[in-house]
């Protein structure tokens, strides 16, 4: 009995060893994509993962892939855990994945130092290390379309619009409700600078990861401080709790604005009618009224090949997965055009990303006219700092509430460059950029 078990164990171990030597599939672009369908953050991870998965399934079904080559899309489960993410990174490397999409800040940080060695570019879409927007220092890392610092900046612009001008901010109390982790604390320096500039009081309301679902004391402080506006830098189970607590404590939910990761449909829905008016930043539209989403429904969802329930297709986080899929597909197309190869490598992928220029016409060509604002990556700007807008929950769906808000590049970019420089100095031996610049015109 025991020996049988041992033998089984040995054979399993042997196959794990073999997995490292998995042969490169012919005529397909391999792409291993991190997801987290389990764990504390799965509520946000599942719709995003479904969106990406369905988008590539649709490309394969409708066009036979990209440029005539199938995309060998594979999911790797991380449970939002850094150790599992490292496993997925190694899995991607072993399978010749052309891109690493970490979907967690911790995983991004663990992978960044390896990217230029393993020649696998990293795409951390709107999260990760803000400083990696600086392409001169981080040629292998891309974090379009916006950084957390721009987000905080856009939030203050929104408050000023609503209050009737920046001069009206004086004496107001603006709070930052944030997850007490590096991700949550990112906007603090920008908000402090803006507070000094415009004369408002900044109050910080940290929520410990273990206390995500129990925020009553935090909201008591918010009431006591008579805070006028609250910016919610939260993720996962923290968001629905914040909306619920705000509504319960009588805080006007239309003065609670979430970062783009706090704008899931399931973040607002559980609070019921009380969530009406909850706002969040976003960089793409919601809803299924786009040709690309309709194609996904036609080619994937209706054929029963999606893991997502049909009514969730087109929700905010699902569309975020689609958005990411479109950017990646466009980068693959660029890489194919630049190199003339059909099956590209990680190095080609990096060049494809650096040539990314999603104009309105390109969005339309991808079946997503008006879906998102233009994104333009250059060799030095790996972020593009694109526009965001504010959306509002009407009780059933998200509705656009404001016009596009352009982040103040001239304010944020120097800070990004400073942070990138600090990263290079603290990581002794950080290589200078040798990758040639792909001229994108």
């Amino acid at each position: 009995m025991m020996f049988k078990k041992l033998a089984l164990g040995a054979s399993v171990a042997a196959t794990v060893l073999m997995a490292g030597f998995a042969a490169k599939a012919q005529d397909a672009i391999n792409f291993v994509h991190n997801t987290y369908r389990t764990g504390a953050f799965s509520g946000s991870g599942i719709p995003v993962g479904d969106g990406v998965r369905d988008y590539f399934a649709m490309l394969n079904a409708r066009d036979g892939g990209i440029g005539g080559v199938r995309i060998n899309f594979e999911e790797c489960e991380t449970a939002y855990d850094t150790r599992r993410s490292v496993e997925c990174y190694e899995q991607g490397k072993a399978k010749n994945s052309v891109l690493y999409v970490p979907w967690s800040t911790g995983a991004t940080l663990a992978a960044i130092p390896r990217a230029h060695i393993d020649k696998i570019p990293i795409f951390s879409m709107g999260y990760g290390l803000s400083a990696s927007a600086v392409g001169e220092v981080f040629p292998w890392v891309f974090n379009m379309p916006i950084t957390y610092w721009d987000g905080a900046n856009a939030f203050i612009q929104h408050v000023a619009q609503q209050e009737g001008g920046f001069d009206k901010l004086k004496g107001k109390t603006i709070g930052l409700l944030h997850l007490d982790a590096p991700f949550g604390k990112e906007p603090i320096p920008i908000l402090e600078t803006l507070a000094k500039q415009h004369g408002f009081n900044l109050k910080l309301y940290p929520v410990a990861p273990a206390e995500m679902q129990n925020q009553s004391s935090v909201w008591l402080s918010i009431r006591r401080d008579r805070t006028d506006w609250v910016y919610n830098q939260g993720w996962g189970a923290m968001n629905p709790t914040a909306v619920r607590e705000a509504a319960r404590g009588g805080f006007p939910v239309n003065r609670l604005v979430g970062v783009w990761w706090a704008g899931g449909d399931d973040d607002a829905r559980p609070a019921g009618d009380a969530a009406k008016g909850y706002r969040a930043l976003n960089w793409h539209q919601t809803g299924a009224n786009f040709p690309v989403v309709q194609d996904i429904i036609k080619h994937v969802v209706d054929k029963g090949q999606s893991l997502s329930p049909k009514e969730k297709v087109g929700e905010n986080l699902y569309n975020r997965g689609v958005y990411q899929g479109i950017l990646i597909a466009e980068a693959i197309r660029n890489a194919q055009a630049i190199t003339g190869k059909k099956v590209i490598t990680g190095e080609d992928m990096r060049r494809g990303f650096e040539a990314l220029n999603m104009t309105e016409a390109r969005w339309a060509a991808n079946g997503a006219a008006g879906f998102a604002s233009p994104v333009r990556v250059t060799c030095s700007d790996h972020n593009s700092q694109s526009a965001v807008y504010v959306m509002e929950w009407d009780g059933k769906a998200w509705k656009r509430q404001s016009a596009d808000i352009q982040p103040q590049k001239e304010m944020v970019r120097p800070l990004l460059e400073e942070a990138a420089k600090a990263f290079a100095t603290s990581n002794a031996g950080w290589p200078a950029r040798t990758e040639p610049c792909q001229n994108n015109s």
């Binding site: 025991m2 054979s11 399993v12 171990a13 196959t15 794990v16 060893l17 073999m18 997995a19 490292g20 030597f21 998995a22 997801t35 369908r37 389990t38 764990g39 999911e75 790797c76 489960e77 449970a79 855990d81 850094t82 150790r83 599992r84 490292v86 496993e87 190694e90 899995q91 490397k93 072993a94 800040t105 911790g106 940080l109 663990a110 960044i112 130092p113 390896r114 060695i117 290390l129 803000s130 400083a131 007490d180 982790a181 590096p182 604390k185 990112e186 320096p189 410990a208 990861p209 273990a210 942070a419 600090a422 990263f423 603290s426 990581n427 002794a428 031996g429």
Partner: protein, 359 residues
């Protein structure tokens, strides 16, 4: 047939008290070590080295540490991950302040910082026991985790709040940082593990270890026999935290290579280490390795091994199955075999000794 001590006579006391009294055991250990040092780094794929061997080695040090506290001294602790974090941050601070000193020295020294913190949080163990002590160490876990996020000096005011592993070399060969090869990292980790295991094994078989076990079995009786409870318990906390600290430094510097350590050293990891002790076998050195191996390798094998041999299983399902297996096995072993896998291993050896004529 082959595994028995017939003909191996002990002619002096030293032989009688040896840790491995049977020659076959000694040969087996030598073979395992030779295999680990000479074969594993050269034949295993990068994937296996990085995702199984490195975390296994790094965590096994922490499991030995908790085993000293829980298995040998009978004091339960839920702060192991916090103490690992202390080691990781201490090592980071030391190597950024004194970059000219070799990182290997700092990895070892960072254990002393963890030991100091461990002694401080071990003080309540003189008054409280069992569940209440577990709660007190839980406070350590939460406090330390809070400190890692809230004290920016610890991560050198890095805006991302993470600690990054700089490039460090030994005789010109990179051993930490992105350019270090996995084989080098593995061998260094292995040297630490072998050294620390040798140290722990000598500790628990000597006077100090005996006083720990006396405290575990009945602290009043131990006190009557002249063992100072204060010294014995704090010593156990110090040694245990020292091991956790070194493990944390290995974990970040050789395995992860930079991470958001405030979330990495969370309560989840503390529990995993405790489960590794329970599954592997409380109060056993080999149990620490069995437990650590089980905890580290099971998820990876389920997730990547099963699909590789053709059993279709999605990652999400594998994660859920892992939780179920570890939970069920922990409860099962607690009820049926409190000494864990190590005891099963011992029973196997006993059976082999009398095989094929059991009496």
């Amino acid at each position: 047939m082959f595994y028995r001590e017939t003909g191996q006579f002990k002619t002096n006391y030293a032989d009688d008290m040896a840790i491995f009294p049977i020659r076959q055991d000694r040969i087996g250990l030598a073979l395992i070590l030779a295999f680990a040092f000479l074969v594993v780094p050269f034949v295993t794929s990068d994937f296996t080295l990085k995702t199984i061997m490195l975390p296994f080695l790094a965590l096994s040090v922490a499991v030995i540490g908790l085993n000293i506290l829980t298995g040998y001294t009978g004091l339960i602790s839920l702060g192991s991950a916090g103490f690992m974090g202390v080691g990781a941050y201490a090592c980071y601070k030391l190597t950024t302040i004194f970059p000219e000193v070799n990182i290997l020295i700092w990895i070892f020294v960072s254990g002393f910082f963890a030991a100091a913190v461990g002694v401080f949080f071990g003080l309540p163990s003189l008054r409280i026991k069992g569940l209440y002590l577990a709660v007190a160490t839980l406070a350590a876990q939460f406090f330390l985790q809070w400190a890692f996020v809230r004290i920016p000096w610890l991560f050198n005011y890095n805006p991302s709040g993470a600690i990054e592993v700089p490039l460090r070399t030994l005789f010109g060969v990179p051993i930490t940082g992105p350019t270090a090869s996995l084989e080098v990292k593995y061998l260094i980790c292995l040297c630490f593990v072998v050294g620390m295991t040798w140290l722990a094994s000598n500790l628990v078989h000597g006077r100090i270890g005996r006083s720990w076990m006396a405290v575990r079995d009945m602290d009043i009786a131990a006190e009557l026999m002249g063992i100072k409870l204060l010294n014995a318990k704090l010593m156990a906390f110090a040694v245990s935290s020292f091991y956790c600290g070194v493990s944390g430094a290995l974990f970040v510097f050789l395995y992860l290579g930079g991470a958001e350590a405030g979330t990495e050293f969370a309560i989840r990891l503390s529990f995993l280490i405790l489960f590794a002790v329970i599954i592997g076998g409380a109060g056993s050195m080999i149990g620490s390795f069995l437990g650590a191996g089980f905890i580290v390798a099971l998820p990876t094998i389920l997730k990547f091994g099963l699909p590789a041999i053709g059993i279709a299983i999605t990652g999400a399902t594998a994660e859920k199955i892992v939780l179920m297996i570890i939970g069920a096995l922990t409860i099962y072993l607690l009820i049926v075999e409190p000494h864990g896998l190590a005891r099963i291993w011992q029973i196997m050896k006993q059976k082999l000794r009398v095989w094929p004529f059991p009496y």
